[in-house]
């Protein structure tokens, strides 16, 4: 539906991500590198999943259960990878601290670590938006639009853009929550992230039902908002705790 519509869909999916990038990440070169590597990680996990599922695709049935197995395995795999990602993050943190000691600069601050987690999460979210939404947007730059059978009220591109937006937010901030949870050892945070991811993915299953996207999309946005709120509370708490411990030194 013309270049304007195509660009509009891109901005719907990636608007918050771009503003996060411009305001936080573009200023520190290392964060850009973290973003690129976490995008690569997500892509590799997606390729592994696609390889594992290749034999069973395309799923011809319209029933729910093959898709739910697909979703469950994918989400489970990605959450497992997140723990591996955290281990790598710890190693990188140690290397950075050692480097900081060598050049006699201060070690990583709490905000640095959170920014690294944010960059990692944004990389994941960006990868999701790019591969699930942007790569399919090419026809949107042309003269027509496309509607899926199950959802005749909203153009396909708009639905995928909004879902991508929801997932960008969820991926970005669940990484911050997860890293904080693993660092502090708090069960609540550690459980929240896979849970939120799973619920969000299961919500998209609602889209399989005819007319389901009218319910699925708002629910997904609510889920994204919940993750955002949880992250906000967590970061606020940690920063105030950190400030009080430092000022009490």
């Amino acid at each position: 539906m013309t270049v304007a519509a195509g660009v509009g869909y891109v901005l719907i999916a990636l608007g918050p991500a771009l503003s996060l990038f411009a305001s936080v990440i573009a200023k520190k070169p290392f964060l850009i590198l973290t973003l690129l590597s976490s995008t690569l990680f997500w892509l590799i996990s997606l390729i592994i999943l696609a390889g594992a599922w290749r034999a069973f695709l395309p799923v011809k049935s319209t029933e729910l259960w093959p898709y739910s197995i697909l979703i469950l395995t994918s989400v489970g795999f990605q959450e497992g990878i997140r723990i591996g990602f955290w281990r790598l993050f710890k190693k990188m943190e140690d290397m950075l601290n050692a480097f900081a000691d060598r050049v006699s600069k201060p070690r990583l601050f709490l905000t640095d670590k959170m920014q690294l987690a944010l960059a990692g999460g944004l990389g994941h979210g960006l990868a999701h938006a790019v591969f699930f939404c942007l790569s399919l947007l090419t026809p949107a730059f042309g003269p027509a639009t496309f509607y899926v059978d199950k959802c005749p009220s909203i153009p396909f591109f708009l639905i995928s853009a909004i879902i991508a937006l929801g997932f960008v937010i969820i991926h970005t901030f669940s990484m911050v929550i997860a890293f904080n949870g693993y660092t502090e050892g708090k069960r609540k945070d550690q459980i929240f992230v896979p849970f939120a991811h799973l619920i969000a993915a299961l919500i998209t299953l609602i889209n399989l039902v005819p007319g389901g996207c009218n319910i699925g999309l708002p629910l997904l946005c609510i889920m994204a908002g919940t993750t955002l709120y949880y992250n906000w509370q967590l970061v606020w708490r940690r920063l105030t705790e950190h400030q009080t411990t430092r000022s009490s030194d």
Binding site: K28, I47, F132, A201, N207
Partner: protein
């Protein structure tokens, strides 16, 4: 906007963390490479060059060339055949002949450098960049003008083209030119040459990329490799190799910057191969192109021999990692070109392959820089990235696309 002295953390205002400046070097080389790739993808997708176009161009040049070389007849054969096996065979033959020509020319370059014909090489480099900017730039501008129906008259076009080409030659040729113009024109030359290469038939492009990366690996690491000889010659004389090299220096020099002479390999060969594939062009242009490719080579080395004696833990070593230092990484233009050719060819299939190949190439570049920091000797910049790019292209095309389309068309995402 935060500057380096204030942190966003209110507790540590006034202290700067290492995260502020770490990785600056790498980003300063990643940005132009990404820009080059982006421009090539945009060019490819807007002025879609199909095989029909390349065949028509080749036939156009074939008819005007005075002495058709064996390559041109081979090209004609290439474009005439349709079956896949024929295409693969001709692609392999073309790629192989390319590599052979490039090897010979690189040895010629080593010989010329040995006999201290540096001026000759520099002038040759200037003339070849003039050719690339004016002929290729003119051709691609004409394509763009006809596609987007831009109203411009021939005289304005000629004046603009002439001016831009001449300034470009000065920008890459003269040492005291502003660095931002130098960098901009180098990226432009990379974009033009890479776009030209994407006009090759598909199998030929892939065969060429793989052959060039293998050649790269051999020429830099083997003891008899021409590039290695070139590096050792340059190091023993402590001279700069005349080449088209992108220097990732910051545009505004900050106080205390030291210009570390890290010379990264460029793909001299790549340029040479480009020339061979465009065998349809006139002999002189072919030579020029070859010269350009030769120019491009610049091995990945550390020019100051005394730094090799320093031990771990010194300032030099930290800078050696390439993180947070104020030196300049130099990447050869051939690397730019081949990365962009790979991404441009991926763009001809689908955008998903573009993103996957872009990430793969960036990963390869990162790995190469890491290896450089570890080994501290001349390293080829092509093989890792190209191999990763090809692998990811295949994986995306075979595995990922089906999976993602299946999920997205049912509006299932995770």
């Amino acid at each position: 906007m935060d500057d380096r002295s204030t942190d966003s953390d209110p507790v540590t205002a006034g202290e700067s963390s290492i995260l502020d400046t770490l990785g600056e070097d790498v980003i300063r080389i990643v940005s132009p490479v990404s820009l080059c790739m982006l421009l090539v993808v945009l060019l490819v997708s807007s002025v879609s060059s199909t095989n029909d176009l390349s065949s028509s161009i080749s036939s156009l040049f074939l008819s005007s060339t005075t002495t058709p070389t064996s390559f041109s007849s081979l090209n004609l054969l290439l474009l005439g055949s349709d079956s896949t096996w024929e295409e693969i065979k001709s692609a392999l033959v073309t790629a192989l002949s390319f590599v052979v020509v490039v090897t010979l020319l690189t040895f010629l370059l080593v010989l010329l450098f040995y006999f201290r014909c540096t001026n000759f090489l520099r002038i040759y480099m200037g003339i070849s960049s003039l050719f690339v900017l004016s002929f290729l730039g003119g051709f691609i501008s004409l394509l763009l003008i006809s596609h987007f129906k831009i109203p411009i008259d021939p005289f304005t076009f000629a004046i603009l083209l002439f001016n831009l080409s001449v300034v470009g030659v000065f920008a890459v040729f003269m040492p005291k030119f502003p660095i931002s113009m130098n960098q901009g024109y180098l990226v432009a030359i990379g974009v033009l040459t890479a776009y030209w290469f994407t006009m090759l038939p598909e199998w030929t492009t892939w065969a060429l990329l793989i052959a060039m990366s293998l050649y790269d690996l051999a020429a830099v690491l083997l003891p008899i490799g021409p590039l290695r000889l070139l590096v050792e010659l340059a190091m023993s004389r402590n001279e700069e190799i005349p080449a088209l090299v992108y220097e990732a220096r910051p545009v505004d020099p900050q106080p205390g910057d030291r210009v570390r002479v890290w010379r990264e390999r460029t793909d001299v060969r790549i340029e040479a191969t480009e020339n061979s594939t465009n065998s349809a062009t006139v002999q002189t242009v072919q030579e020029t192109r070859l010269a350009v490719s030769e120019e491009i080579t610049a091995p990945l080395i550390e020019a100051f021999p005394q730094t090799g004696d320093r031990h771990l833990g010194t300032e030099e070593e930290e800078d050696g990692i390439g993180l947070g230092s104020s030196g300049a990484i130099k990447l050869g233009l051939g690397d730019f070109i081949f990365y962009s050719v790979l991404v441009g060819r991926a763009a001809m299939y689908d955008y998903m392959t573009v993103y996957a190949c872009y990430l793969a190439i960036m990963a390869g570049l990162g790995v190469t820089l890491l290896l450089l920091a570890v080994y501290r000797k001349a390293l080829p910049a092509l093989p890792v990235s190209i191999m990763l790019g090809v692998v990811f292209y295949l994986l995306t095309r075979v595995l990922l696309e089906v999976f993602v389309v299946q999920c997205s068309s049912n509006l299932l995402m995770f």
